[in-house]
Subunit: 289 residues, 4 copies
Amino acid sequence: MNSEQRPDIARLVISCPDQHGIVAAVSELIFDIGGNIITLDQYSTGVENGQFFQRTVFHLPGFAQRRQTVQQEVEERLAKRFSMEFHLTAADEPKRVAIFASKTDHCLLDLLWRHRRGDLPMDISMVVSNHPDLESDVRRFGIDFLHIPVDRDNKDAAEAEHLKLLRGKVDLVVLARYMQILSPYFLAEVGVPIINIHHSFLPAFIGAGPYQKAKDRGVKLIGATAHYVTEDLDEGPIIEQDVIRVSHADDVAQLTRFGADVERAVLSRAVKWHCEDRVIRHGSTTIVF
Amino acid sequence: MNSEQRPDIARLVISCPDQHGIVAAVSELIFDIGGNIITLDQYSTGVENGQFFQRTVFHLPGFAQRRQTVQQEVEERLAKRFSMEFHLTAADEPKRVAIFASKTDHCLLDLLWRHRRGDLPMDISMVVSNHPDLESDVRRFGIDFLHIPVDRDNKDAAEAEHLKLLRGKVDLVVLARYMQILSPYFLAEVGVPIINIHHSFLPAFIGAGPYQKAKDRGVKLIGATAHYVTEDLDEGPIIEQDVIRVSHADDVAQLTRFGADVERAVLSRAVKWHCEDRVIRHGSTTIVF
Amino acid sequence: MNSEQRPDIARLVISCPDQHGIVAAVSELIFDIGGNIITLDQYSTGVENGQFFQRTVFHLPGFAQRRQTVQQEVEERLAKRFSMEFHLTAADEPKRVAIFASKTDHCLLDLLWRHRRGDLPMDISMVVSNHPDLESDVRRFGIDFLHIPVDRDNKDAAEAEHLKLLRGKVDLVVLARYMQILSPYFLAEVGVPIINIHHSFLPAFIGAGPYQKAKDRGVKLIGATAHYVTEDLDEGPIIEQDVIRVSHADDVAQLTRFGADVERAVLSRAVKWHCEDRVIRHGSTTIVF
Amino acid sequence: MNSEQRPDIARLVISCPDQHGIVAAVSELIFDIGGNIITLDQYSTGVENGQFFQRTVFHLPGFAQRRQTVQQEVEERLAKRFSMEFHLTAADEPKRVAIFASKTDHCLLDLLWRHRRGDLPMDISMVVSNHPDLESDVRRFGIDFLHIPVDRDNKDAAEAEHLKLLRGKVDLVVLARYMQILSPYFLAEVGVPIINIHHSFLPAFIGAGPYQKAKDRGVKLIGATAHYVTEDLDEGPIIEQDVIRVSHADDVAQLTRFGADVERAVLSRAVKWHCEDRVIRHGSTTIVF
């Protein structure tokens, strides 16, 4: 068990205009309520007119019971004073996650397996797929598998079904090589963040067939990018990226095979960091503490 | 001294339609003339209608004296039979290289240092710059520095001067962060390959200001790309690329600083490989043996 | 399907004292019997008194039927002349592999997954474990799982049982985090190569508890090493290694988690390369083509 | 100019037994004196009986004039209460550094060049060498070069001369491939930290000739390690390490060439981090913020 996942561990993530005294005020509050800071990361986009971000993990005996009070203290002592947005979470209260997949298994299996070994602080509520292929793989992990076919004619109905499953039930949707584009309506309605894995080193090779494009362009490294999904396809804030060296001798099939390893590693890290409240969106970019 | 730089070492680089018997014919010829193969790399784009590439390094006593004869043997026994393009070089006959630079010193100095240590099998014929700033750094290495200012009004005259300096005098031009775009006329006239270093992981962030673009896009890795220069800016065949991890906390100045290390490493490798006859252009890509 | 796995693809791996004409003789033979070389890699430890190694992959129609003849040709035309050791394999004839594991699943599962996706050119004959924990994971892939407990008292009997299972039935044994030391008797009797994954960057942190040792020493990178097993524990020829960056803030549990990713990647690559006949042992080191 | 190098930027580095309220007390003090925290990193070896480390960078108008007062405030309000060791530095007050070198130039030149471009926040007081070879390279950067020959007979005298040069004049000694072992007497007397670059991935290949040892052992990656020098040769706390991939085909000369690139990068990073007060020694390890 990761030390951050123990009971009585709270995480406070804040964002506000940069100004004097924020760190002091936060740490003072934590001290006053009897907490002990475990880690504290902060970043400012600039002293003048900058935006300030901070993630503080602290130990507070009885946090589960006292959460409401702490929330209120933060609201009163910090949020108003600093025009602060914040969220307060319990490290032992895992995010509820729905994973969407299609036929490709490597990203999905990596998430299921890491989850089983306790490396991902989340509950997998369900796996949703437009194909039945991965059902037995998923059920084996004791996780619900929902096959909801999607085609041109039923896309609206399928998304309505998706929304019904997700609304109020999950905190995060992960697209683990889900080969359907989500409609703006779905994105507006789902109400939780969505993380996608794109099989290229964005912004290179936007769109379909990135390994073929990489082959045609003759790049010497291929990569993968995990990002939050926005209405602008492949343009959402990047959470994590990585690359692997390839050579002229690797054909597209080989690039795809190499790429699969990078994709699963990158997606797993992005999901882990999100579930640990390490990632803060800031415009079209992210802060990752 | 690298083993490949000793006397009596020949390199034969060939390209032809793929077909049976090429490796046998090449190695037989080398055996017949008394040579000993040191390394042999080959690659075919496909058995059917593919293009075949091979680089063979071999030891042949008295190669300097016998070069003409060997050239003729290859012409007669191989080139005709296999519709082969080839070039035959002596490993101890370094390429003559002109380096173009502007004000930034890191790529230039890295090439000069490596050359001085004997790591780059080339002769540096001259350094050409549109600014005088790097003159004393260059002269200190005993290398000619030519300051040829370039502005909107004198670009044609400057390029004419460049061509006069280069024609017949160099085998390669290296743009070590040279901040001028070469005209199509110059590219057509210069008659030797040109290697450029672009300060991004191409095809991402084409054009000017790639580190600013990388910052704006929020990428988690930045890179550099060495490529042959063609008329299509930033589109030439890629020789080498690499990346380095960055974070949200790195500003553009820091990205530029990190990037400089990647740029100089990537350019040095590309130049080294070119000078060792390891790089073969194939359409918009390269084979690197 | 990897191009190397198609029918009619042969691999010839040779080793002999370096001398003139080897490449020519090999490629000539292949041409004479109607083969077409796909890839050819060679390496010599030195022109004078050196040892020469070559791996040649070639396409030969009807290789399955003609294998005996080809074997004989190589014997007669090459092996005698060059005092050559060689082996000739069919690319579509996968190695038969036994995997040994204990309780840790990451290396084992990675091999099983990659095998299922068709990325590892091998047949998994069985999984052998001294613990029952991984049985259902393994059986799910349709692979035999044999639970053979090992303790101080029954070690000889257990190894006898192992040998009975393996002899003549497998071409390779892979130790996927198998937590038992194999006896010199077993190593002498098993008659096939054994690949082990050690959870450190050898030769650093030999023996047990390498992540604890790494933590104590304060290294900034941790690694894993796949090597052939010899009587000298952790001293066998290294096939592949890799590392991952860690920080002072990572405790031993976190190092272990990070390390698991490196271990499974390194072991999978080593096994793949071995099964593709890319790895040649040379004293206490390896050539990897 | 790095933002940390501007005037009015202070750095407070502390170490004390872990307990509640440290972050709050530090940030409160900074707020009280009118400072604004720019970055704050902390690490605890454990909540129970652990050791706590923190590096806080803050902006304080007029810090140069107020330094004494701040030092006193920290002493009174923090150091006593928390049994704290601390040091307070001004970011625009560079460390004074002596670089020791022998004949090899790559590490030395990399430091001199990075220093010239403003990437290393330090003053180079002198370069000391036991050989005259690098004198003109060093003087060209406008830096004093002191040639102090060392041999078996004059070692004590040489070290006495070293100490005379260094005492009270420098804050750090950097061994940039200095090929002499420093005596315990020297280490005891010099009174400032010493950073060394070892040309292997420690703890592998301790002692002389690491690239030869790496070749003999057949490792697939070679590395370099920057560490503080202690009486136990090659055993001092590691600051930074990195590796590069090599193959069976690379001879010792090639390993040495590849290794040189890793050495200079690793040493430069270690020196930079030390000069930015990012590195804290903790027993035989380091915290690097």
